[in-house]
Amino acid sequence: MTDPTLIRNFSIIAHIDHGKSTLADRVLQLTHTVADRDMQEQMLDSMDIERERGITIKAQAVRVMYDADDGKTYQLNLIDTPGHVDFTYEVSRSLAACEGVILVVDAAQGVEAQTVANAQMAMNAHLEIIPLINKIDLPAADPERVRHEIEEGLAIPADEAVLASGKTGEGVRDALEAVVRLVPHPVGDPEAPLKALIFDSYFDAYRGVVALIRVIDGSVGKGVKVKMMATSTITDVEEVGVRRPANMPVDVLGVGEVGYLITGLKDPALVKVGDTVTLARHGATEQLPGYREAKPMVFTGLFPIDGDQYPDLRDALERLQLNDPALVWDPESSHALGFGFRVGFLGLLHMEVVKERLEREFDLDLLATAPSVEYHAYRMKGDMVVVHSPQDMPDPGHLDRVEEPYLKATVLVPPDYVGAVMELADQRRGTFKDMQYLSATTVELHYEMPLSELIMDFFDQLKSRTKGYASLDYEYIGYRTSQLVKLDILLAGKPVDALSFVVHKDKAYARGKVLTEKLREIIPRQMFEVPIQAAIGAKIISRETVRAMRKDVIAKCYGGDISRKRKLLEKQKAGKKRMKSVGSVDIPQEAFMAILKVDE
């Protein structure tokens, strides 16, 4: 057990790509936690999907031992967090295990939307904030301007901000010195019964559920009987240890320490993130505050392409949820796609990541339908129906009104692009609230807008209309009534439920038209003509036709061609298999996402 005065617990937080994981790499090196020859870039981004996309998705805790200038050796528990807005929930959970943060700001990009959002989270949690201006090696670095932005925009004193480069390693020692000096050491009662917060967990095929914990009071070691307070589950501790970054068993975790706990429990439902671990006998009586549950914002249907994989998909979702507590789902069935699940996500990137992880880690082939939000449909008779899927929208004849979720959207952008942002927000039913200069170079705009508009490639549009300068953050503010209608798509005269979507009445016509045009391009020519129609109720509002293919024949087939042509046919067939046959029409997967790409 380490003397708590020699422990510092902190998270590294920032806007996406400002260099958190690279900075963590340098810390691992400087403290000799990882030998130089074992070092790789963004070491803590251990999932394939993180390495491929070059972003952090999961927060990662790691312990390092730091020999400080004062001659003492400190135990630093640092958590590298993701920067993308979809994973804000990971950041908030990490902060609960810390007393301080390093707020990283890119010296060229300056303060961006998640810099503001994450800094505010740290302030609300009353954590010590150490500003760090990163990437000072870049030719475009402008630390003075950025220092200014931090002070004016975030109201955080920055004259002592650490100047650093995760690339060259410059300033990294200064950062750790600042942590030792400024971040308060953990305070707890070593004599009190154990109280530890589960701030993350994952499933290990051999060991069962592995909980990541932060000890508040008391201590925990192997062989102790503990209780998970929320579920009242009592179990023996098989192992405790620390991550360096590989798991390393230790005898005991004491006040202020961060580490992992293995109990042998295999049921994900019994070890909940946010729960408090205490002793089975004479344990604590009061739980730690825990976390607010993450609220899923977008919902999409996930269907196994091969219907037999339905049970596998359910198992996979359960396993994945352990590592991703924000994931929620309900069974769903579709005429077109069969049995699947309606899954709720924190955002579009979260959705993409989960789909990809399910496919990869659990060897599934999935089809996703276009994301939609959660509508509240109030019927004439006074009750309310929660609509996660457009196909569940009650008949218009019975509807009193429909409410949809609204967001407060914050856009940070250089002054030159304010006009472009306003134009886009206007097209997306945004209501302008206010605007302020964070500095001479950065304007902050606030809008209220429907979430449904935001998930329609709003972010891509924002980026492209501002040459990449704008950054976006948003938070949920509540439900509001809107004039919404359900639009159905008919292929060859038959409605395809999985293609239906909900849209504002004033936009229905334009969206229907663009979508039918888009589908005409996406759906391959088939042996028969395929009419594509968009309809509101019984009224057809637009129509396109995929012309019939005129011929499809390998005309030349002699001795040498036979094997080759047979393989060609097999390849064509495999291509068809990746499409979904609805009635007689083969629909490629991207058709179900086409609605997201219609920019009117």
């Binding site: 042996m527 293919m549 005129r550 011929k551 499809d552 024949v553 390998i554 005309a555 030349k556 087939c557 002699y558 001795g559 040498g560 036979i562 094997s563 042509k565 047979r566 046919l569 097999e570 064509q572 067939k573």
Partner: protein, 414 residues
């Protein structure tokens, strides 16, 4: 033994050479032989066949010798030769070899003697055929010339990058007929810029010239060819699907009206003048293929006798092999680049699939053996196939959607 397992081809082979009483019985080799000559005068703009320009880099005599050596490579003591029913020398453009082609034919038929009434076809392109060459080929035993006419519109020939004009092509056709050869002409339809009327004129003119056989191929744009590049760069319009279909329909109409019946997706002949060699491909008969890039097919017994599959692999009833496309000279075992074995159900499905390329289609019996009955019925429901007189045959629409037919039959069992 050497018999098509779909049972569609002619049954049995002529008896081979006398086997001494004390030797184990030898397995007869196929009675169809394909020889590939991978040279052309120059490369056409649409071509992705395995051939190269005859620029002197490959010596004709060495090419002939290497080809013969490949054939000798098959004559293992475990097999015996049977008289060839058909020999096809294709390319490329075999006629660029000139007198060396005559030598090749003579030597090939010395190694593998011809059966009585054998069909011996040479592929020819108009720019490399002379009356003298025709006479020598006839004297060497050639019975049939397949000429790459492609079009009788000079503008189209230029676009295709052909190195001959329409007049030359017609002269060669007439000369070949005059020399006593059966003549087939290859035509390409759907070439951008070729009007429907010009296409009809080409069809009429070629039939007027007296050919007994016509093959019609829609222009297909193959990746990596100069034509594909021209289209990608916008210098050339891509083939128009409607115009191509109209041209294919017109070919069927005109040729049939003028006495050339359609017997396969792309092939028309005066009855009795169908290509026997190509028919062997579509009816499951084994054939040897030699030359760079050439392919062959053997039955299980032949493959086992030649050591291409182990003797105990009796589940294999068919082997398809291919020579590497760019190896000269080559040795059999070193240069096989493609090799595929098939079980009886696979071979039956393949026979059923290939059978549906032909007007005569597939007999009930084969469809049943191939497990393709369900597929056939679904094709009938979609109007691509008819079932009459105990046979399944493609309809007019079926000719245009052959791939749908082939894919469903091939996928019948999975």
């Amino acid at each position: 033994m050497g018999q098509a397992i779909g049972g569609q081809g002619p049954i049995g082979g002529a008896p081979g050479f006398t086997v001494p009483w004390n030797e184990p019985p030898r397995v007869p080799l196929p009675k169809h032989l394909y020889v590939h000559v991978p040279l052309c005068r120059s490369k056409c703009s649409y071509c992705d066949f395995f051939s190269r320009a005859d620029d002197g880099a490959v010596s004709h005599t060495e090419l002939v010798e290497a080809t013969l050596e490949m054939l000798r490579g098959w004559l293992e003591p475990t097999v015996r030769r049977v008289p060839l029913e058909t020999l096809y020398i294709g390319g490329g453009t075999p006629t660029v070899l000139g007198d060396d082609l005559v030598t090749l034919v003579r030597e090939l038929t010395t190694i593998m003697p011809l059966a009585e009434g054998a069909e011996v076809t040479v592929e020819a392109n108009p720019e490399s055929v002379s009356p003298e060459l025709l006479a020598s080929l006839v004297a060497a035993g050639v019975t049939r010339l397949s000429i790459g006419v492609q079009s009788l519109d000079d503008e189209t020939l230029r676009l295709l990058g052909r190195c001959h004009d329409a007049a030359t092509a017609l002269d060669v056709v007439r000369a070949a007929l005059g020399a006593g050869l059966e003549v087939g002409a290859d035509l390409i339809c759907g070439v951008p810029g070729l009007s429907h009327d010009d296409w009809l004129r080409t069809l009429d003119a070629i039939v007027d010239a007296g050919v007994q056989h016509v093959s019609v191929y829609p222009l297909s744009i193959e990746a990596g060819t100069p034509m594909a590049e021209a289209i990608a760069e916008g210098r050339l319009a891509p083939p128009d699907e409607d115009a191509t279909v109209a041209a294919m329909d017109a070919a069927a109409e005109v040729l049939t009206a003028r006495g050339l019946d359609r017997y396969e997706v792309a092939n028309y002949a005066v009855p009795g003048h169908e290509s026997r060699h190509n028919t062997a491909y579509w009816t499951g008969w084994p054939y040897l293929g030699i030359g760079g890039g050439a392919h062959g097919m053997l039955d299980g017994e032949q493959a086992r006798a030649l050591g291409l599959v182990p003797p105990d692999e009796t589940g294999i009833v068919r082997v398809r092999y291919g020579y590497a496309a760019d190896m000269f000279p080559m040795r059999l075992e070193k240069s096989l680049s493609a090799f595929e074995t098939m079980t009886a159900p696979e071979a039956l499905r393949e026979d059923a699939m290939l059978g549906m390329r032909m007007t005569r289609g597939v007999a009930d019996e084969l469809a049943e053996l191939a497990g393709a009955r369900g597929a056939m019925e679904s094709l009938v429901a979609d109007g691509l196939v008819v079932h009459e007189g105990g046979r399944w045959r493609p309809t007019e629409r079926g000719w245009l959607f052959g791939n749908e037919i082939f894919a469903r039959i091939w996928g019948a069992v999975e």
